[in-house]
Every structure is written in structure tokens, then in C-alpha cells.
Symmetry: C3
Subunit: 483 residues, 3 copies
């Protein structure tokens, strides 16, 4: 057997291995929830911008594949502007820190914020026409913000501290008609890729199939002109020629060139020198604004459809007064779902804010109809997750900034640490996510069923059904006294 | 070429084969309904319990993959209790034989069955507090029972003969946000795995990928304590430490240990010595109860949402008087869908009960908007199924206990045997499943379209459109007389 | 190393290669929308019939996999009858040319078109019973026709020119519970396979797995009788024995044999000698009929459900007067969605008709909640499509008969050629498909956000926001004058 044959053979074997491994990883995807082990995840990738930071989790983590979601954490410096972008997946954003303003562009809705036509007073700074734009909204720490699929939005930090937000992209949502890859379309600027893992695979695959050098870009031999000019930026407008943009938008060539944003190094979060000038009702207290919006949303579903253009998109769920469950020794829980924030009906998402005091326990429970994603905002504690076979797939300490996936129906319990409390947010992939608590199931089950299921005596069953707190928030030391 | 190299080569080849075969089986899954052959399926696996038997169909059968469902047949002995369990997939259960009681635990619903507080009369048997629990329901042969996803339920045989039930788990239902693997979560006891095929694959895969000895369980090196104690049972509580359970539920350590159910050999169906003591309205006739429930359900959809806690979950469809289609010589058909049993709207499932008398034919028809699963309850007959290319993918005798998958739009016809009738149940994956009958399509089509489509003469078309029964239930010998 | 071993080795390698390549193509499917290049597609396969032509696009094109759809173009000669067929996927048909009649068979609906019982006048041609059938509908060029899943329909060309229609089969629609393979079930005749690509794969796979000679058909060894007779035609009735059909439909053996359609060479579109005789209200103008139907549909959703049997299934969207957007220099656009044609709510599909005059531009926009399929009816022009990374995945001339897939959220712009206009239809995979226009997003965004995003001066922003047309239809030369 000659040497060349041998190396050819090895090469072939190598080739098969790689192809087959690729498919083996696909095999996982189909059995995506056979998780014999769940890990607490921290961001895998960071993109630094002029005025902020974008961190993403690799969507190929088995846990995230199972839940069918992707996550992004953004830090926007004061005076930082996150450029307008949209995604085919609906997004739910939680504001961890800071405050800001957000502008969505709903198609078909009018520009309801207007500068007076005859405003001569500001002549120093503006010689042009008075501006107008769609409604903008103020938000702050503790807010949940809902962004429907395909709707562009921008965010601006008008506060004094960095604005930190965690966003869920529900890639397996029915609204996303593309595949499960997270996609963010930027309207402008020169954003850097936010999920490089999905990019690399693409190139690898490409190479493998066509045996062509990396860097070949699809469709080039078909394109007729301007291939040189094509693709300086990464925004969607950079894919059009400046000549076409000038024609279409009836602008000068220079303006059109800037729309394509060549060689902009600021990335997706840019600094606004001197602060962003927008039309913003002043003298209004944030609290008042909220009150007003609350009233509007309480008119319910009918109102929602009549006033789609003034739709409420955010709700604060971290305030103590907003608690849905409360135990003064153990902690509090509040929920935002399509009953409290009707837009969530369209997103099919909801959220839960949990604050456990020191040693406080959120007793074992499961999500009936949703996957859930637990993100630790502050403090430390321990999370236990059990699968259908009774295996503890997660039983670990968690700390600030970590993400834990709790698949549908898996039983989970959380406990705050001894030294500090635990504060976390749970994203849920259902707008009417419901929870079942083991303790409440015990109470609702006939004593004799429990006695036979667990081999307990009558006395023990009574203890199980009647001692302990009624609710799922428990403080271990205080239990016996409180009964 | 040396011997070692050769064996290394063979080994590699072997390895590739197995990996590639694994993916080839995935290939099937994606093209899961290219069935050139359908088989009648009998259970593949059995789990014997103290007081009953659980039989399951391997969910990897191409037919079951196409329909996206899993099936379980349970036999519960008299005084047998099937322990509380839940599943992320909605379940539809048909009672083949016997009678029993069932208890569901709906979250947020009160314990509406109560013993009087001052009950001194029963002091002999109970020294403890009076018991209370959620509503329980009686069921019997011929009932369809709907179990929503994530809702735990237990079942008890209070009759004199074995209780036999067949359950459909609709793993491809929108309510199941996990993958297509069937999962049953047991709240208590030490159940044995019901779908070992999905387990084995998991271990195999694990081994293959990590080249680690079998038995390594995920997450162990991360777990901090109690790894010894972890995992004696298979219920979801066995994944928690008894110390944590004692803290959470405020019970003694011994009670908590039993909640984890170590070394219980009774499996998922246990015997209740002396019969199960539950709070159960006596002196009521089953028939009366049904009457009452029927009236409630007739108030329709609005009533459903107002009284979610007293929701009707079952309906008898085997009674002759309940027939929707009837031909005294051929047979009868009754249907349960979201119009007769509103909860089915949430499950997106329905069922059809068919009884064909000797030689009776259910003429060719297809399911417009559902896959269907035909389970033979009694008797024998013959089933014919034709696919889109006109191939007879099934044309065989069927007998009691067999399951036949009829994919959406495939044309199917059933005929009872000459010696005994044929009784079967059809599960359908749509709560408003609709059927189109070939004969009725002929009647609704202009005569000249039929003449040209089939090359028939006018006389033959008239014969085709007007002779034969109007309905789909046909008795071959009686046809000519009856017209 | 001996020769035999070497060839065995090569054989094995070959075998692995093919298996792994099969899976590698599956890999694409999962990442089905990572399109770095989109191609304009022309039909890949043609089936010639006695009175027409069926052309199909290979559903394995990456673009079509991403959109989850299949396409068929049918040409029916005058007096040609397309035989009754149905599909588990809902269909949307656009009539490119000609006119005809269509008959749907809705289950449970009565035969509302009747010949009078005592019609002695036509005795010459018909000695039989008077005919009756379900409602038939007339359609013509410019009509969109909606066919729900599982509902059989036939089409007849009663005009003087060939009838040309393009049909979308939405295989990824929630109504299709089978896999993504397009399936057409013919009730009669001997149709030739329309999507041979999906067939071949099936046989290949079969061969590969079982190492059996081609032609083995599943289930044969299980079939008890008539295997010789089975399968002469390709219609669903050809899968039943003529004896069984005769029994079931109570017809003579000869009629039953013809139902199975052996050795019919006419394929799926047959010629009707002397024209099709159907019951058809005469003396009515098509326009009147439409008027009437329009009124009915305007009663909205409630009316739809009350009169499911007389449901409106088609709407003309090519008429100039029907335009929703109009610019006398650039072109016009009309849309059919579930608001204009309520049945589309059940199909979850909609359509857009676009006519661009010479040089006219449909400015950059994206589909918020739908994939879209652009089919060029007439003329020529240029289409540009940009993905989330700012790459121009398509930037080419398009001509009559070509199909271009525009995935959800990808930015697209169309421009008619210099010499002739461009007329195209867009199928959309959402019954309330919404579009966002880049120009309108600019207008709705605060000037300072645009200035900072694109590095523009105030003057340039004002130019961008206020110059140019308000609407998305633009004529490049006329822009500056029109403002």
C-alpha cells in the first residue's frame, strides 16, 4: 500500500469525521431537551462600541436550544444611543440598571410628537423645518419592555449611570418564520456581528460544501455592477448602492453614501455629543405618566386594538408595591403577563420578578406551559432543577449575571444565600405562563392518595398537608413559629 | 500494511457507520411522513407494577413519528392507584374496560371536597384533622378523559375488574415546548421508565460523544453535596435532598425521606390495602352525575372559562344512544370534539368511537385537518390506507390491541370481519377534526366532471352518484335492497 | 493489501459519503434561512397532460426550504379539465391569464345547484336523473383563489385562450400536519408525479437502508390478495381493489374498475370533448356576480362562519380601480388579505399585486411578519435583497416567469426596467402580512437620532425626512419636481 493512498485515506476519514460530527451536533438539536445536565451560563461574546457594550450568549448551548431562545445583555453609557434595529423574533427586555428613552416605529402610525411650525426661538441651533416623530417612551430600572417582531426601535441613555438591560429573543416563537438563528437587522451604522457563533458555522459549512476559499460571498458572479462598492457597513442599507439610495430617497449622493455608513468605527452604540435632542414632554413626572398609561391599559383588550399606535409597551415589575406574592420573611414575586400588559399576547412571552430575602426559599414548583429563563440580577443563592427521571440536572450556587434555563415541567426551587438576598428575573415563553406548586398539589390531593403514594402514616400526611406556609415563599427558620 | 492499522481502520469505519446511521435515522424524522408502508403496531415495552401494568409503544416507529404522538396502555388492578403524574404533552385517555375515579390538581383552584370539621364519628380510623381536596371525578368504560399539559392527575380503580385505558400523548402539540420525546413526571413513588427507547438513545449518544463509561450522570462534579443521597427514586422529589424538602415543607426528616421514596419497589401503580378513602358524594347514581355535567357543558364556551375549576374533563362516547352516524346493518360512529367537550379546545385533540357490525364497512374517507390513530378495542376486521401516490400503504387484518396510524389526508376504509364485528377508537390531532367521504364528494361533483375524470358513461355516473347509501356506513349485502 | 480489501474499502467509503452527504443536506434544512445567496428560480420539472402542462419548482431549493413553501404553475388548454385533487397544505392560486370555473367540495355542504326534476327537454343527451352538485365559481385573470387544506377542487378552462395559474402550497403551514414534502392527492385519473425530487429521494433512501432492488413496494408481503391488481393508476382510488370499490359504492364491477383508472394516459389535465356540461347560472354578468359576492364578504367575520358553504374564495386584485397604493408615474399596489377576503384567515396566507411603470421603484421595505414569494407576471426589472448582515444576497434583473424568495425581515426593493414596466405577484405567508418602509421609518424617527446614526448634518436629515415621495412608490426622474 503506497504512502499517497494512505494519506488520501486519512484525509477521507478526516473529512467524514467532520461531516458526521456536524450532523451529530444536529442530532442534539432534534433531541434538544434531553438535558442530563444544565449549566449556569455567562455571556460568551462581547462587542465593544463607542458608547457601550453588547454581550451575547452562544445560542448553541444545549440549554438555549432546548428553550429556543437567544439572549443579549447591553450596557449603554450615559449619552449613548443604541442604533435602530429590528428582529424577526419578538424581544422582551428587562432594565437592570439606569433609565432612558426608547422609540419604536410602528408602520402606519402617525408622527404624533411635533415641534410647533413657527418656532423661531431655537433658530440658533436649527435653521431647518421643525421636526416631528412617533411617540417616544421613558423607562427605568425594573421595567419590562416588549418589542414585537419586525418593529425597529432605538434606545438612548439620558441618565447619569450606565444603562444595563437584558433582552430575550424568542427565536422559536411562531412570529419568527425564519430558522432558529438569532438575527438583528440594523437600519444604520456599522454594527459588529452580535452572534459570531452562527456566522462562523455558516462560513465553515460553506467551505465544506463548495471547497472554495473562505471569503467568497454569495451571488457575486451574478451581480452586475457596484460589487466593489457593496458591503462596507453591516447595516441593511449598506447592501444597496448609494446611487440607488439617492434615487429612491431623493437625496444628494453624499447623504446616500452616509446612509450606507462606510468605515464607521463606532459600532452599534454611539455617543451623542451634547445629548440627544428629541421632542419630549417636560415637567411631567415619570410616575404620573405611568399612572396614565396604567389606566389606559386597564381598559383591556378592546382598547389595545383601537389604539395600536399608542400601545403600552412597558411595565415596572420590580417595585415592592407591585408584588403579587409576598412573605415578609422570605421575599416577594411579581408577574407581567398579557393580563397586566396586553401587548404580551402578541409576543407570547411573559416575565416574573423574584426577590428572595436572606435564606428565603421559593419552594419546588414547575412551569405548566412555558420554558423559563432565570437571570440573576443581584445577590447569590442556590438553584435546584429536577428532570422527569428524578435527576438533579442542576444543583448549584448562582451569582449575579448568570443565566439558568428551566425547561417546561422540570421542577425547580430557589434559595437565597445566608449573607445576602437573591434577586432574579424569569423570562417565560408563554404570555399566560402558569406555575404549579408542589405544596399546593399536596393540599389539593386526598390524604389517602398521598399516604399510599409516599408510604406515609396519617399523622405524617396531615403534617405534610397542613404544616408549612400556604404560599410558595418560605423562610426555613420561621416556618414552625408561623404555624 | 500492518495488522494494527487495519483494525484501527475497521474500528474507525465502524464508528463512522454508527454515527452516520444515527443521523440517517434523523433523516427519516425530517421526512417523517414519507411512509411507503404502515404497520399495525402492538406495544413494545412493559413495566409491571405492584397493582397493574404499563405498556408503551416505541415512539421511534416511523408511523408514530409522522403523527408526532406517543401511546401508553395502562391496566390497573382493582384497588390499584396510578400515582400522580403529569406531562408537558396534553393527554387524551380512552377507558377500554372497568371504572374508576380520577383526581386532577388545577393550580389556583380551591379544595372543594371537604370533610366536616367536627366529625367525631369516624374517630376510630382517623385521629387527625378532617381532610379536604379538589373535586374528584368518576369515570367508566367508554369515557374519553382529557388531561391538559402540566396538570398532575391520579387514577384509582374502585371497580371489581381490571381497569384498562389507552392514552395518547400528543408530543407535537403546540402546548409541549420541549422536544418530541414523551415525558412523564411522577410526583411520588419510584416509577420505572416508561419509554426506555428514548432513554437508551440518550445514554448511547452520551457515551459516543464523550467516550465515558456508562453511568456517568451529568452535573455531578458540579454538585456540592449529597451526591450520595441523590437519586434513589425516579419521582421529581427524589432529585431534592431530604434536608431541603424537610425545610421547605416544614416536615420531620423521616417524612421528607419518604417523599424522596427511596427503594420503593411498587413502581407507578400501587395497591391500596382496604381501598382508597376519599371524599366522594355517595348515593348518587353515575347516570345522574353525568346528566348534570352534560347540562353544564351545554352552556358552551363562556361557561368553560368562568368555571375553569369545575371544568368537565370527560365524556362517554361508546353508548349506542350517543351515536352521531347510525346504520342498523353496518354500524355506528360517535365523536367527541371541542363542541361536545369544550376542554378539547385547549388540548387540540378529539376522538371518534366506531363500531362496525359483521361485514360492515366504513367507506373510503380522509381526515381533512388531522392525523388519526386507530386503536382496535374489540373484534377483528380489515383496514386499507392509501397515500398520495395511490399506493396501498396498509391493507391488512387488524385485531384487538393493535394500533394503526392514518396520516392526514391519506384515504382510509375499514371493514368488520365476517365472524365478529369491529370496535375501535380513533384519536385525532385536532379538536375540530373534519372528515371528507369519497362518496359524498362524488355526489357534490357535477356528473360531467366525474364522467371525464374516470372515463365513465352517463349511466355509470348516475349509478355512482345515486346508488349506494347516502352515509359512509355501508353493509355490502344490504346495499342493493336498501335502494 | 489485497485488491478485494481495497474495493471493499472504496465501497464502504462511497457508502459513507452518500449517507453523510444526505445528512449534510439535512443540516442545511435546519439552518434553512442562512442564505448568503438567493437565486431567481424557474420551474425545474414539467408534466405534460392531454390538455395542459404542470410545471413545478424543486422544493429542495434552499430559498424554498427557508420559506417553507412549494410552487406549481399550471397551464390548462381551452376545454381542459384539471382533475379533482386536494392537499394537506393550504393553497393560494393566482390567475395569470384566461378564465375558467372551479368547483370545491366542502364536507357537509348541500348540493345547491340543481337541474329541475321534470326536465324532459334535454332527453336527447341524458336519459338519467337530473344532476345536482355543490356551488361552482367563475374566475378570471387577476383573481386570487384560496383552497383550504384537505378540500378537493377541480378547474375547467371555459375560455378561448390557455388558462395559466401559479399556485403556492404552504407546506410549513400549521394546517399541514405531515412533513414539509408537498403532496397532491388526486381523486381520479392517472396523474403523473408532480414533485419527482421528493419521490426519488424516497426510493434512494429506501434502497440505501434496505439494500433491496428498486421497485419493492412496502407492505406487499403483508398484503393478502389483489397485489397484482393494486396500483395501476396514481389516484387515491387506485389503491383500493375494484371489488371493494364495487361493494362500497354499490356499483357494477366495470364502473369500479374505471374508478381505479388503470392505464389512463391523459394525466392530470384532460380534454373535455364538446365542453363541460355543468349547472351554471347563465345570462349573469361576471361583474354582477362579483358585486354580489363582495357585499356578502363585507358582512365580515360573523357572516363567514354562518355561511361556510357559500364562502367567498376568490378576489380580483389586478384591476386598476382596486389599487391600495398609487403613484401615476411609478405604479400601483393592491393587497388581498383576511380583511378583504375572510377565508384567508384560515389559510394564514395573503397576496400583493404590484405593477411598476417604466423606471418605477418600489422603495426599500421589509415584511414584518411573513416570508414573501415574488413571481414575475410580465415585463422585466431589477430586484435587490439585503440580509441582516447588510449583504446583498440578490441584486439582479428578473424576467417573466421567475420566482424570487424574500425572507421575513430581509430588505427588498424593486425597480421596473427602462423599456417596459414590471408586473409581479407576491405571495405572503401571513394573512395579515404587514410591511415597513425604510422611508417611513426615517420620517417617524427623531431627526437627531438619524443625524447620530448616519453621521448626517441637520440639513441632510431634513432632506432625508422631507424630500422624496411620502409613499413607497417612486419615479426617480419625477421626484425632485413633485416636491
Amino acid at each position: 500500500m503506497s504512502k499517497p493512498f494512505l494519506s488520501l485515506l486519512s484525509l477521507s476519514l478526516l473529512l467524514f469525521t467532520s461531516t458526521c460530527l456536524a450532523t451529530s451536533s444536529e442530532f442534539d438539536r432534534l433531541n434538544q431537551c434531553r438535558l442530563d445536565n444544565i449549566n449556569a451560563l455567562e455571556p460568551d461574546h462581547r462587542v465593544e462600541s463607542e458608547a457601550g457594550l453588547t454581550e451575547t450568549w452562544n445560542p448553541n448551548h444545549p440549554e438555549l436550544r432546548c428553550a429556543g431562545v437567544s439572549l443579549i445583555r447591553r450596557t449603554i453609557d450615559p449619552n449613548g444611543l443604541h442604533l435602530p434595529s429590528y428582529s424577526p423574533s419578538p424581544q422582551l427586555i428587562y432594565i437592570i440598571q439606569g433609565k432612558g428613552v426608547i422609540g419604536l416605529t410602528l408602520p402606519g402610525c402617525p408622527q404624533t410628537y411635533e415641534e410647533p411650525r413657527s418656532s423661531q426661538s431655537r433658530q440658533g441651533s436649527r435653521q431647518q423645518q421643525p421636526d416631528s416623530h412617533q411617540k417616544i417612551r421613558r423607562f427605568r430600572k425594573g421595567d419590562i419592555i416588549a418589542i414585537p417582531s419586525g418593529i425597529p426601535y432605538w434606545t438612548y441613555n439620558n441618565g447619569d449611570e450606565p444603562l444595563v438591560a437584558i433582552s430575550l429573543l424568542d427565536t422559536s416563537n411562531i412570529a419568527n418564520q425564519l430558522d432558529s438563528t438569532p438575527r438583528v437587522f440594523y437600519l444604520g451604522g456599522n454594527p459588529e456581528v452580535e452572534f459570531p457563533e452562527t456566522q462562523e458555522e455558516q462560513q465553515e459549512r460553506h467551505q465544506q460544501r463548495h471547497s472554495l476559499p473562505v471569503g467568497r460571498r454569495g451571488g457575486q458572479h451574478q451581480q452586475e455592477e457596484e460589487s466593489e462598492e457593496q458591503k462596507d457597513g453591516n447595516s441593511v442599507l449598506s447592501g444597496f448602492s448609494s446611487e440607488f439610495l439617492a434615487q429612491t430617497f431623493n437625496t444628494e449622493e453624499d447623504t446616500a453614501k452616509r446612509l450606507r455608513s462606510p468605515r464607521d468605527k463606532r459600532n452599534q452604540i454611539v455617543r451623542v455629543e451634547g445629548g440627544l435632542r428629541i421632542i419630549n414632554p417636560e415637567g411631567q413626572q415619570e410616575e404620573e405618566e405611568e399612572e396614565e398609561e396604567k389606566q389606559r391599559s386597564e381598559q383591556g383588550r378592546n382598547g389595545l386594538e383601537e389604539t395600536i399606535c399608542s400601545l403600552k409597551i412597558h411595565e415596572n415589575i420590580a417595585q415592592p408595591a407591585r408584588a403579587d406574592l409576598y412573605n415578609p420573611r422570605a421575599g416577594r414575586i411579581s408577574t407581567a403577563n398579557s393580563l397586566t400588559l396586553p401587548i404580551l399576547r402578541y409576543l407570547r412571552l411573559s416575565a416574573e420578578y423574584v426577590r428572595l430575602y436572606r435564606n428565603g426559599i421559593y419552594a419546588p414548583h414547575w412551569n405548566i406551559n412555558a420554558n423559563s429563563l432565570l437571570y440573576v440580577i443581584r445577590g447569590e443563592g442556590r438553584v435546584r432543577i429536577v428532570n422527569s427521571q428524578g435527576n438533579a440536572v442542576f444543583d448549584n450556587k448562582v451569582r449575579k449575571g448568570q443565566l439558568v434555563v428551566v425547561p417546561q415541567n422540570f421542577v425547580v426551587a430557589e434559595q437565597a444565600g445566608e449573607e445576602e438576598g437573591l434577586e432574579y428575573l424569569v423570562f417565560k415563553t408563554n404570555d399566560r405562563a402558569a406555575v404549579s406548586h408542589v405544596q399546593q398539589v399536596f393540599r389539593a390531593t386526598p390524604a389517602d392518595v398521598l399516604a399510599n403514594a409516599f408510604g406515609l402514616r396519617q399523622r405524617q400526611v396531615t403534617e405534610l398537608k397542613l404544616s408549612g406556609n400556604r404560599g410558595p415563599l418560605v423562610h426555613p427558620q420561621s416556618q414552625s413559629q408561623s404555624n
